[in-house]
Amino acid sequence: MASQEVKLLGFWVSPFSIRVEWALKLKGVDYEYIEEDIFNKSSRLLELNPVHKKVPVLVHDGKVMAESFILLEYIDETWKQDPLLLPQDPYERSKARFWARVAEEKLLEYSFTAMCTHGEKKEQALKSAVEAAEKIEEEMKRNNKKFLGGESIGYLDLAMGWIAYWLPVWEEVGSMQIVDPSQFPATTAWSKRFLDHPVIKQNLPPRDKMLVYFHERRKILGGLV
């Protein structure tokens, strides 16, 4: 394959930029990683993603794209080698896209909110997070394969990967439990298999740094959320 210039703007602890890195690494695509300080945004980031001013941003041969789920699809469509991230069947594809959304819009939002808040706000968010986790657990049970993508890691595994690693950190920081292993056996088992994958294992931010980071975020956002 002719040499192609791929750059990824990311943030070391962002589950959104790391899921894109996982995809590139799984496909064996060489890329230049550029760390962005999201609290002190560079003019480069603002220029490349003026609409949302967020990471991740992917630049491929000068073409600029953003939004992590969209980037996963772009990567799958551009680098057609294994692993194929999205299922071949249209109905299965629609399910993968749907559950990625559910995990993002419900479980992620509510978990993060629960981590940052206290009192009734926290209780509400926690309840909603657990409800979302229950629905995802049902899907995990139904899937019954090594990964959500089948025998190999796929789009939905990458989309939900944060559950395996970020969520336990948030639970610790927020002194809460959302995915109790005894109540969520399928999710727990999948999480373990996901983190055991050689590519994933080598591409996770350090847990101790994450704890410090999210404790800080909780303090700062706790007043605002």
């Binding site: 073409k63 794209m65 969209i70 980037l71 699809e73 772009y74 249209p90 109905y91 629609s94 629905k135």
Partner: protein
């Protein structure tokens, strides 16, 4: 697959919903006959609760007994299943990423900013109008880049982003007619002003987006409440 019987394809929806309109337009583009099951506003049918238990929202596409939810996911499903019909998403991965990006923007940022704009008053209304106008200016830029001088975001024919945005602006056009605001401005967003006319006049769209008069009726009712 292109000649499924009518009973094979059902759309659960309500005609005023711009999200439901997206699905019906996509099916029209593919010349797929479907049964439209109209939900009563204010109540949710058993079928809806069964086929979309996670979000309990319209639209839902039921195809051969399988349910698909979330309008943009449904539109992509339609494009992939009825692949012999005119394509909805472009073929180039970068073009697809751009159209998906702006469609996500419509859902995540633009549509929420449109909410309650016609019933808002005074300062609140002014703030909403400013937000919507900013969004339209961004979308105008996207339109100029995407269309490359042609009639639609998708080029000569309606595509994914046209379908995502069209019903929203169809409504906006009616809100403008109510008076008091001019959101679609020929000076600020000339491309979009022309585009929304072309879109609403398209064969696949006519009959799905009702005439302005009918939309005005609904808006008047909402204002009355």
């Amino acid at each position: 697959m292109a000649n499924s019987s009518c009973s094979d394809v059902k759309v659960l929806g309500a005609w005023p919903s711009p999200f439901v309109m997206r699905v019906r337009i996509a099916l029209n583009i593919k010349s797929v006959k479907y049964e439209f099951l109209e939900e009563t506003i204010g109540s949710k049918s058993q079928l809806l609760l069964q086929s979309n238990p996670v979000y309990k929202k319209i639209p839902v596409l039921i195809h051969g007994g399988k349910s698909i939810s979330e309008s943009l996911i449904i539109v992509q499903y339609i494009d992939e299943v009825w692949s012999s019909g005119p394509s909805i998403l472009p073929s180039d991965p970068y073009d697809r990423a751009i159209e998906r990006f702006w469609a996500a923007y419509v859902d995540d940022k633009f549509f929420p900013s449109m909410q309650l704009i016609n019933t808002a008053q005074g300062e609140e209304k002014a703030a909403k109008v400013e937000q919507v106008t900013e969004g339209l200016v961004l979308l105008e830029e996207a339109f100029q880049k995407s269309s490359k001088g042609k009639a639609f975001f998708g080029g000569d024919r309606i595509g994914f982003l046209d379908i995502a945005l069209g019903p929203m602006l169809g409504w906006l056009r009616a809100i403008d007619k109510m008076g008091g605001v001019k959101l679609l401005d020929e000076v600020k967003t000339p491309g979009l002003v022309q585009w929304v006319e072309s879109f609403c006049a398209d064969g696949a769209v006519k009959g799905v987006i009702p005439d302005i008069e009918k939309l005005l009726e609904i808006l008047e009712k909402m204002k009355g409440n």
